[in-house]
């Protein structure tokens, strides 16, 4: 068994992990990145479509190109990378944290670290999570698994598909399946509006004449050995209308029904989870409830743009480096999700400096108003042409705006 010591160990070698590690190294800290897959890049490697990088690199890149740009930045830097290496647990009991890992190449590894950055990303919700009734035939895939099969492993999961849920991965896969010669019969969405971005509805569904059924529940999956079809039932005035249910024949079902931050390791390490995000509750340093353990990217909250993941993770790396240098927040002010706001991350800010926040609305609305209040007093009010849950929003609270904050003060973000 090998034992090695670092200032910081980053768990996960996707966009978040690479960005955090790069920043830690730039701040003069010794860093190791532990990645479960055989190469860095995470989910970007299978996202072969374009649309990444407009913020980070000012050009439109595909997922593999974005990942490789980050990898190139890692070259020549003093960052130890362990690929094909699974983290078994994080021991946070002692003065130093111990990240226990195992891999075929390195055997059992114990990485000692003063700080740990969680960057494990998220996982897809599956059929069990949303409890679709019916038989249990082959041919039911999550959209991301199908994406991996098609784009990396070179397998076609089926010929005749229905996509359940209108998340972006499902929409992207509807186009991908169409482009490899498969028929996509329909996309079924339980909500009255699509979960994915408008441009994906237009370019991934409308281009191929794929119907989108809004306010429909998938009430059955048929088939004995292989999927033979699904049943869709409209939701009218909040109730199912079984008389109007219909069957769509297909041999494949792709599920795009949401993502959940992957926090098994965090929970085992005693990290408190915020029920609104399913990610760790973090302070203004992006530090979890366990001192010295930080979190960033999709493990903290599910992002829609990798560019924002990188920005947030760079900040996490910077905060972790500052924490290692003995810096602590002087005092903190709570951030509350007000009317029509699902959550804000982080949920604490530090007066005296700029604080960047990401948040998500719960409503679809044109000409909305975004208000930031400190103890009920409006700090800022701005018009938003359009808000929707699938588009993450961001603000930076300036040092001056938080000047009047007292010990029990709270910031509230509201959208009306």
């Amino acid at each position: 068994m090998k034992e090695l010591g670092f200032d910081a160990v980053v768990i996960g070698g996707g966009a978040a992990g690479m960005a955090a590690a790069l920043e830690l190294e730039a701040q003069g800290k010794s860093v190791a990145v532990v990645e479960r897959e055989d190469r860095l890049g995470g989910i970007l490697c299978q996202c072969i479509h374009a649309g990444f990088g407009l913020v980070e690199f000012q050009e439109e890149l595909t997922g593999p190109e974005f990942a490789e740009r980050l990898e190139e930045k890692m070259r020549g830097r003093a960052i130890s990378t362990y690929c094909g290496c699974t983290v078994l647990g994080i021991d946070t009991e002692g003065p130093e944290k111990i990240v226990a890992c195992a891999s075929s190449a390195h055997g059992v590894l114990r990485l000692r670290a003063k700080a740990v950055v969680l960057a494990m990303g998220c996982r897809e919700r599956n059929r069990g999570n949303i409890r679709i009734p019916g038989t249990r035939p082959a041919g039911v895939f999550t959209a991301g698994l199908a994406q991996r099969l098609v784009n990396i492993e070179g397998y076609v999961p089926g010929r005749d598909a229905v996509v359940i849920g209108s998340g972006d991965i499902g929409l992207i896969m509807a186009r991908r399946m169409s482009w490899i010669g498969c028929k996509v019969r329909a996309v079924i969405e339980i909500l009255p509006y699509p979960s994915g971005l408008t441009r994906n509805i237009v370019q991934c569904l409308n281009d191929f004449g794929i119907p989108l059924y809004l306010s429909y529940l998938t009430t059955n999956i048929y088939g004995r050995d292989r999927v033979e079809g699904i049943e869709a039932t409209p939701i009218e005035n909040g109730a199912l209308a079984p008389a109007k249910a219909f069957r769509i024949p297909c041999d494949t079902v792709l599920l795009s029904v949401g993502l959940v931050p992957e926090n098994e390791l965090s929970r085992d390490a005693g990290v408190a989870i915020n029920p609104m995000t399913n990610g760790p509750a973090v302070d203004s340093y992006l530090m979890t409830s366990v001192p010295g353990v930080f979190a960033c990217g999709n493990v903290l909250h599910v992002h829609d743009l990798v560019d924002y993941v990188v920005e947030e993770s760079r900040r996490a790396g910077r905060f972790a480096a500052a924490w290692l240098g003995g810096s602590r927040p002087a005092r903190e002010v709570r951030v509350k999700a007000g009317p029509n706001v699902r959550y804000a991350a982080p949920s604490r800010v530090e007066p005296g400096r700029d604080n960047k926040l990401y948040f998500r609305t719960m409503i679809v609305k044109n000409d909305a108003v975004l208000e930031i209040k400190l103890d009920g007093k409006v700090l800022r009010s701005s018009k938003k042409g359009h808000v929707q849950p699938s588009e993450m929003m961001t603000i930076t609270l300036g040092a001056a705006e938080l000047e009047g904050a007292g010990l029990d003060s709270a910031i509230e973000i509201a959208i009306t």
Binding site: I48, T198, Q203, D207, H386
Partner: protein, 122 residues
């Protein structure tokens, strides 16, 4: 001619109505900003799409399990010829290693657009 479109220039997603064309001027309504009219014009008169796909990787072994090489069109491609371009990409067999940016098809279908690899694989 009369066609309904959804503008994708920004997240608002204006419902556009385009009328006219074929000799007469194209009239666009429903857009909240000039970009909507420009989008409708381009979408109706010469729609383009960035094409991303994968081609077969030869020489993948136990140490390099990659079976597909991701690739893209170097610029948006005329929409009505995307099917032909995909057929050309799927017919390709490329030996590993391959480096990101390598041209896999030069001047695809004679339209002056290349197909390039988007990932270094060895």
């Amino acid at each position: 001619m009369r066609r309904e479109l959804t503008c994708i220039t920004c997240p608002i997603g204006c419902a556009l109505l385009a009328e006219g064309g074929e000799g007469e001027e194209l009239r666009v309504s429903g857009n909240r900003c000039p970009r909507g009219a420009a989008y409708a014009r381009e979408e109706l008169l010469s729609p383009h799409r960035t094409v991303t796909a994968t081609c077969r990787a030869l020489g993948a072994g136990p140490s390099s399990p990659a079976r597909r090489i991701p690739c893209r069109s170097s610029a948006p491609f005329p929409k009505e010829r995307v099917g032909e371009l995909l057929a050309a990409i799927y017919a390709l067999e490329v030996s590993l290693p391959v480096e990101r940016g390598r041209v896999l098809i030069r001047d695809a279908l004679g339209l002056g657009i290349n197909v390039v690899a988007t990932r270094t694989l060895d």
